[in-house]
């Protein structure tokens, strides 16, 4: 079952482009990473799905419900973490978390206490006294305490220290195991690579690639390192060529037999062929397409 589905979803802010003909499918139980640089359209997509902004054209459904007309019912099943965690400054953390639960008409005290404990969040502090990372923790508790079926998380780990990031992803894994679907946008590609099952790359408001993360890494592109030669023979399909003391490094998109043939007879001391990181794939898409 598709939890999120958009068809030609488009949003313009006046004459400025937000997203263009975005076609996105997220299956139930998936952990879907939404990758793109600032201004690519990640937050616009998320806000459109949540009804915070209206699409200029196109369609979208969440749990099969129309994002334009059934926002209330969609939001009942969603836990959302905005990119910037902003709350009412003069409130205490515990009151803020309770307000979030009360607005959902749910008693989440037990779950909230457990989350605060795991995230080491001091609930007696006022929001205005919190660091960015601690505000993010409040945001995590507000998004997770009511145990929704879908998490929509906009750059959720920004501001969290590495230990907390690890704890956060552990929580997400547990929620995913429970059956929840997770849709998260991120700049941190290693997060997507380590925790997501599928990923989509958005560029200039358009979704230019969607695949499983493992398939993305197993693309025809390979990272090649060659040591021991002074000059690289002319080859088609070489991108991001770098020369250093260690040798030549590049991404290779051509045929492997061609590469081996060209390298024959050269004084190669060491050669390494590996799958590129998601970051390299991402940069490749952004530089070439």
């Amino acid at each position: 079952m598709k939890v999120i589905e958009t068809k030609n979803l488009t949003k313009y802010y006046g004459k400025s482009r937000g997203i263009l003909d975005l076609n996105l499918d997220v299956e139930e139980g998936d952990i879907f990473g939404f990758i793109g640089p600032n201004g690519a359209g990640k937050s616009t997509t998320i806000r459109t799905l949540l009804g915070l902004i209206s699409a200029s054209s196109g369609e979208g459904t969440v749990f099969g419900m129309d994002i334009h007309t059934e926002t209330k019912n969609i939001l009942k099943r969603v836990g959302y973490m905005p990119g910037e965690a902003n709350f009412y400054q003069s409130m205490r953390v515990r009151d803020m978390i309770k307000l979030s639960a009360d607005l959902r008409k749910k008693d989440c005290q037990k779950k909230a206490a457990s989350l605060c404990d795991r995230l080491q969040l001091d609930t007696n502090k006022k929001i205005e006294e919190l660091s960015l990372g601690n505000k993010k923790k409040v945001s995590i508790v507000c998004a997770l305490q009511h145990e929704p079926d879908l998490y929509i998380l906009d750059e959720p780990t920004s501001g969290l220290d590495p230990l907390m990031q690890q704890e956060f992803f552990q929580l997400l894994k547990e929620e995913n195991k429970r059956g929840a679907t997770i849709f998260l946008s991120s700049h941190v590609l290693s997060e997507i690579q380590n925790y997501c099952k599928h990923a989509g790359i958005v560029k200039d408001g358009k979704l230019i690639m969607v695949n499983s993360v493992s398939e993305m890494s197993k693309s025809n592109t390979k990272r090649i390192l060659i040591q021991g030669i002074d000059q690289l023979p002319a080859l088609e399909g070489v991108v991001n060529l770098e020369q250093s003391k260690e040798g030549f490094q590049f991404l290779y998109q051509g045929n492997m037999p061609d590469l081996i043939e060209r390298l024959q007879g050269l004084p190669i001391q060491n050669m390494n062929i590996s799958d590129p990181t998601l970051e390299e794939i991402f940069l490749h898409f952004y530089q070439d397409k």
Binding site: N86, Y88, L99, L103, C142
Partner: protein, 261 residues
């Protein structure tokens, strides 16, 4: 209900500051009435002959040597202006603060329709204005008890009812205006309240701009008019009510479709 409770709690400090200040000032003013009553008797005729100045503040119609007249002139100005500023500050902030403080993403992703959120905020605004007026009435009533003067209940009640309606009208006008704003514009609200106050003064001074009385709620809530006639100007209040409803409908309609960024 949660949102109403939240808004009242969030604005409690503002309510207490404005309510206690305006109410307290009125109370203190009334405390000096017994000592100035004798001196004021001689000034009534002088004020009555001061032409436009007296007309501007309704002193040509009201006898301020009586406790109620004094209350209407001295305390009335403070309550009218102070209350309208309080209403304007709350009204302009009620919706716009969510975008200004970037809390809209929190509030409007809870499972309720946008209309529900706006309606509850409008109710909270009305309750806050009502609580402010109850404080003012309490201080006003208390001041009459403190100086052992008889309170003419009917005029007092009509005056405070008109004041409540005026404060609500300003609050909801500002609420509707704030629907199109990106952040709370306290200055705009206060400016609007002061502008409407001065419009009433111009109406009092000049017959040529009498038509403006339909545009300012300060006219129908003026103590001088109410104490002079002993009744409310229901036609003006009705027009004010209709205007406010139209503004509110516009505010609701606009905000329901607004992109919250």
């Amino acid at each position: 209900m949660t949102l109403i409770k939240h808004e009242i709690k969030a604005n409690l400090k503002t309510l207490l500051i404005w309510g206690l200040t305006v109410g307290g000032m009125n109370f203190l003013m009334m405390l000096i009435f017994p000592s100035v009553k004798e001196q004021m008797a001689g000034m009534v005729e002088m004020y009555a002959n001061m032409g436009s100045f007296s007309q501007a503040f309704g002193m040509d119609k009201i006898n301020f040597t009586t406790p109620l007249g004094f209350y209407g002139i001295e305390a009335g100005a403070v309550l009218s202006l102070g209350g309208s500023m309080f209403a304007a500050i709350l009204g302009t902030g009620m919706l716009a603060k969510e975008e200004g403080a970037l809390t809209a993403e929190f509030l409007f992703t809870t499972p309720h329709t946008r209309t529900y959120h706006i309606a509850l905020k409008a109710v909270a605004l009305g309750l806050l204005v009502l609580l402010f007026n109850l404080l003012a009435i309490g201080f006003g009533y208390g001041s009459f008890l403190a100086i052992n003067e008889t309170l003419e209940g009917n005029e007092f009640a009509l005056y405070h009812l008109a004041q409540l309606c005026m404060h609500l009208q300003i609050a909801y006008l500002c609420f509707a205006v704030s629907a199109v704003l990106k952040r709370s514009a306290m200055g705009l609200g206060i400016g609007l309240a002061i502008l409407l106050y001065f419009v009433q003064i111009f109406v009092n001074i000049s017959d040529k701009v009498e038509f403006l009385k339909y545009f300012t709620p300060f006219y129908y809530s003026d103590a001088a008019e109410i104490f002079y006639s002993g009744e409310l100007q229901l036609n003006l209040m009705f027009i004010g009510g209709i205007t406010t409803i139209l503004f509110l409908v516009f505010g609701f309609t606009y905000y329901r479709k607004k992109d919250l960024l």
